[in-house]
Amino acid sequence: MKLAYYPGCVAKESGRELDLSTRWVCQALGIELAEFPKFSCCGSGFIDEANELLSIAINARNLAIAEAAGLDLMTVCSTCQGMLSLAKLRMEDPAVRAKVDATLKPLGINYRGTSKVTHLLRVLVEDVGLEAIRAKVKRPLAGLKVGAFYGCHLLRPADEMDWESPEEPHAFENLLSALGAEPVLYRGRVMCCGFPIQFVKAETAGRIAGRQILDAKDHGADAMATPCPLCHISLDAYQRPAAKLVGRPLDMPVFHLPQLVALAFGASPKDLGFSRHMVSPEAALAKLAPSAR
């Protein structure tokens, strides 16, 4: 399998442990990641607040890059997934399409809408398949209770994302089970992490993040895991202020999705960038059966 790898801004910079572990997992599964230094930022749901058409056009360009190589595009971020998928959908509107084409064509960019936009989580669950994942597990994550945290833009709006039920998604939990971990079901798993207003009103964002972490904790999670580096910023990087805002200690390790997959596939924890987390995942790793450490 060969995919156009769209790492997004955060995985290339402050969240590079996500990029690191994504590459580790894809190599282990024989997924070839084609790289395109021409990819730009997806706009992250901010550019479209200022100028929606601009945001659509930027993403049509990103999609055209993957199309020119004849590849489907794989994201590792719920927000990138949402923005690219929405741009593709909006481009089906003839009026939007005409305006964007009028901008792109003179630049030599030919958007056709032929490449699928997919996320690492979907690739693992749908394309690789849980059977093949299970077969790769060298040290099951037995004993680890994990609260999956999806990230809004992977699921909603449901009619536009066209994937799992945003109320009762299962893909992430099924993957966690295949890795030997015990998925924890809690309501916050499909809720917002607060990230979009981190820079608008940090206290409100922190209260929202804190609430979801508490929910996972109260349902017995030893750790959380997310397919979105922006959720990771909210849940991990800003967990300390969130704990103050909700008035309870949280101490919740938060994994990037591919970190847990790599761990189960036998990667050494020191290759997965855990030292870059604000909340040390040591306590969660210590819960793993001795054979898995």
Binding site: N51, I109, C152, G194
Partner: protein
Amino acid sequence: MSADTIPVTFDVYRFQPGKDATPRFQRYTLDLTPHTPVLTGLLRIRDEIDPSLGLRYSCRSAICGSCAMQVNSKSRLACETQVGPEVELHGRIVVEPMLNQPVVRDLVVDQSPFWREYQKIEPHLKVDPRRPMPVGKVTPMTPAQVDRFQGTPRCIACAACYSACPAVGSDPAFPGPMALAKLYRFAVDPRDAARQDRLVRIQTEGLWLCLRCHLCTEACPKDVRPSERIRDLKEMAIAVQGATEHGSKHAVGFKRNIREGGTLNEMKLVRQTYGIFGMLPQLPYGLKIWRKKPEVARRPPPIEGREELEGIYRELDREGER
């Protein structure tokens, strides 16, 4: 149980503030056909088993918007939610009152906070007194003008979106999805003379607290899509007034940030949002993050093909022309 019915377990939230110390769930089991509305089940419980159950409803036809409540954690109309799919998905039906509004009794909430926000956006046409609407005559709109409403007049004010919204639940300064969708409806009405004032006011009155989590759009029984109209409002507000708040500065700053290198310069974005002095309070915690993730402070290498991106901006970003 007849052949076409299934046993349906309802776990219903019961609480009388002032009388009960804490809320409790009461279980009722009924045999119902799968297409029975949850509301019908609740009414049978009230009429046949437990007359003390409190709930609000009226039309039973998804028109009046009275029976919004949480069914299996999703805010929606009980009258248009069928029991069959719920039982299939969740095994039972957990019924709770809406969120973000205080419980009066059982499934009945006090909707005052919701209506207060609605009132604040002044949900009525403000006509220019110098150009009064002709009396006794219709003022026709073109189909294009009607299209601009984008379905917002369909709102039945059921408050399901208000219940589902995490921003409402976390910050009293956020007006909620319904009030903002209504504001949009008046801001695009060609007969309304207060468009500019409405858009200027809302910048400072909570517009930027929307999380764009789309939970409101998911909850809305009438496909009003509040989250998408809130996005429209943000773009319209910036267009009339420029960026005046942290939220709009962040959006505009982000847009400019990406123009430079094609990829996000994280540190610079913080400066673009808060300004140099506004950044200072962020510094102590920022340093802690920097120690773990030093890349936050560096300028990322630019993408290849920046001239293409620049070409797109030059064509579509009209910011400089204002």
